[in-house]
Amino acid sequence: MDKLLSMTGITKAFFGVSVLKGVDFDLNHGEVHVLLGENGAGKSTLMKILSGAYQLDAGAVVLDGQPIDFATFTPKAADDRGIVTVYQNFHLIPHLSVAENLSLASFTHGRGFIHWKQVYAHANTVLQKIDFAIDPKAKVRDLPVSQKQMLEIAIALSKNAKVLIMDEPTAALSRKETETLFKTIADIKARGIGIIYISHKLEEVKLIGDRITVLRDGLTVATVAARDADLQQIIGLMIGKELSRVHENRASVSDEELLRVDGLQNRHFAAPISFALHKREVLGITGLVGSGKTELAHAIFGVDRLDAGALSLAGRLVRIDSPRKAVALGIGYLPEDRDADGLCLNLGVKENVSLVYLAKLKSLLFSVAQEKRTVAGLVDSIGIKAAGIAQQVKYLSGGNKQKVVFGKWLSARCNLLILDEPTIGIDIGARGEIYGLIRQFIAGEDRAVIFISSDMAEILEVADRILVMAGGALVAELDPKHTTKQEIMQYSLRAVTV
């Protein structure tokens, strides 16, 4: 059978720096072909060439038997030929409704007036096509992430796509939503549409993919059938070296308590929360979306008021009524949305990394030279990849951004780190580095980490002890060595209706 898409010898350089060095990639009809690779490996660039955003320097692309003439290949041309991308950060307009977003493209064809009846009719047709029940009048910004995702797909399909490029589609989805998405993908496959699937979630790619291709440093390293793939081997191929693990060469967990939480109550919790955290421990907290994990972090970090309950740090009773107080006590917090809550995007690496350090300083003036030295040292030891410490953080990759947030807390001598979904949207290599940083962190005396993640496989991997939350309450305490994903899931589903 003829291939749907065939890319050969794709080469691209930016200002003398080679990004793609002759990549081969192809796609069959009705296939999900997974594309793996670290950030910087060239996946984005390859897809941007395919979707008409970039020009290639050398190579050829043939779609459905017809070669693509890159002299005239614009994003619109790509659209017309059926190459459509569904983005990680959606290209929806939040203030408009579902129907308006669906009709956005056709608005440009009209005579100036909008025929609302047609708009809604069009919307309903498209939504029915993918069996997606949603109110066409709903405003996009009010939709949960998973529905925004589905809308993006609906829009892509309404353009009669032949090739669908999906970039990190399940990054923000819960397990159930992921299942629904996979069902939709199966439908799409059945229609003969080819899907290029980019993701960092390795267990997932085996489930959904037909073939897997690994890119590294601008070259295709391997292409294998998904069912034959060995994940460890693939990881090795992706990063070209051993993956760091949290539990390697670790000092054992102490018996002493660093933090004791007693009967915490506020409007987010269904029942009082109590637990202890030991020194040198990585305490995992898991549960489904909405189970109260982030709210627990906020309660400890002073973001939310407590109605009742006590916190003791190293045996001493403390009242944490603001993030400032928490910081002064040596607690650090890496928020779930690092761009919105953890970073000053248009400031440089230096300004971001030194922020908590400066916040804790007592004097009015500070030494600029000292700041530069400290930050440079940290950047080095953590391995933050940026074009100098003056570079604006917004240009960094997800993994490096997270390292900057990490560095911010490391520069400020904190003892207790609360990490909220720290590896979301981060490629496998950077993920390993973050684990390495955690390991380094808890090696110190009097240190501990609370690791919040809805990725149960990751929690089993990383934590010394697991607390499961469901419906705003703590429902179980488990030993990772003696439990399974299924058991964790069972506890998570025990939703306590408030």
Binding site: N39, G40, V303, C344, N346, L355, A387
Partner: protein, 328 residues
Amino acid sequence: MNQVETSQPSTATRASAGIRGLFRNQGVSMLVILALMWVVLAFLSKYFFTVDNLFEITLQTAVVAIIAAGQTLVIISGGIDLSVGSVFACAAVVGGVVFTSTGNLLLSLLTTLGVGALFGLTNGLLITKVRVPPFIATLGMMGIARGLALIISSGIPIYGLDDSYKFIGQGKFFDVIPVPTVIVLVVYAIGYVVMNYTRFGRFVYSIGSNAEAARLSGINVPLVIIGIYTISGLLSGLASTIEAGRLATIQPAGGNGYELLAIGAVLIGGASTFGGEGSILATLIGALLVTTIRNGLNILGVNAFWQYVVNGVVIIGAVAIDQYRRRR
């Protein structure tokens, strides 16, 4: 190795990066534009490029520049202060009443600064504790302060300011450097140190860039914001003493429209209305730019109505060039 996942090219050749690096500094590029303007005007009129006139430009800029220094902090933090013009007048009026009743210059100046700071403090509290958006809070304060200025003075200018007061506006050090120019330099020197070498200055940038991230990093955001607006009010008061010295009277209707001039200077200097970006020195250049245009056109005898047009064209042009510089 640089593995930055971005469509930006990594720095190309090292040589041109050096000069380009210099130009990336918005203060420097605006300075170049200002210098160009001076050169052009020097050619057009022999009266322009004299020591006397150049000092005159700094003198005429002084009042707005000092207010703009405070406004720079406000705008970098992501806020705005519309009340500066009215606080300017009210602080001066209260200080003036103290002066005419006690004859004590020092007391009068301290009162002016204090009243300005008090208005600023109130703004800060309204914004942080009552959560009134800065635009609205300072807009309301603009009316309140103006009204109070007119009420206290009954609308009559306060005159009879003696030589000691006039020195602030009309005195000269070494017979050549105007006192206001020196005051501006001192204010900006302090401003530069604060913004670049103190934690407070760094917090201003951080809050403007992402207030939530700043809060979650342990910064006392409300305190910093209150400080920012208090400084803005204080500097408005300071500026008003200079104008009072220059006019030898205190005009309760004075300062009208100064908030727009100050904000203009800050934005022409390259600050972003979204916050997190800006440079205190660039604001000074922005203020000088605006005054240079007006001074030059006056000296050239350009028709008053055309002055409006030319003013607008030059300001847009200067910022357009700056934008072009940024995109490279």
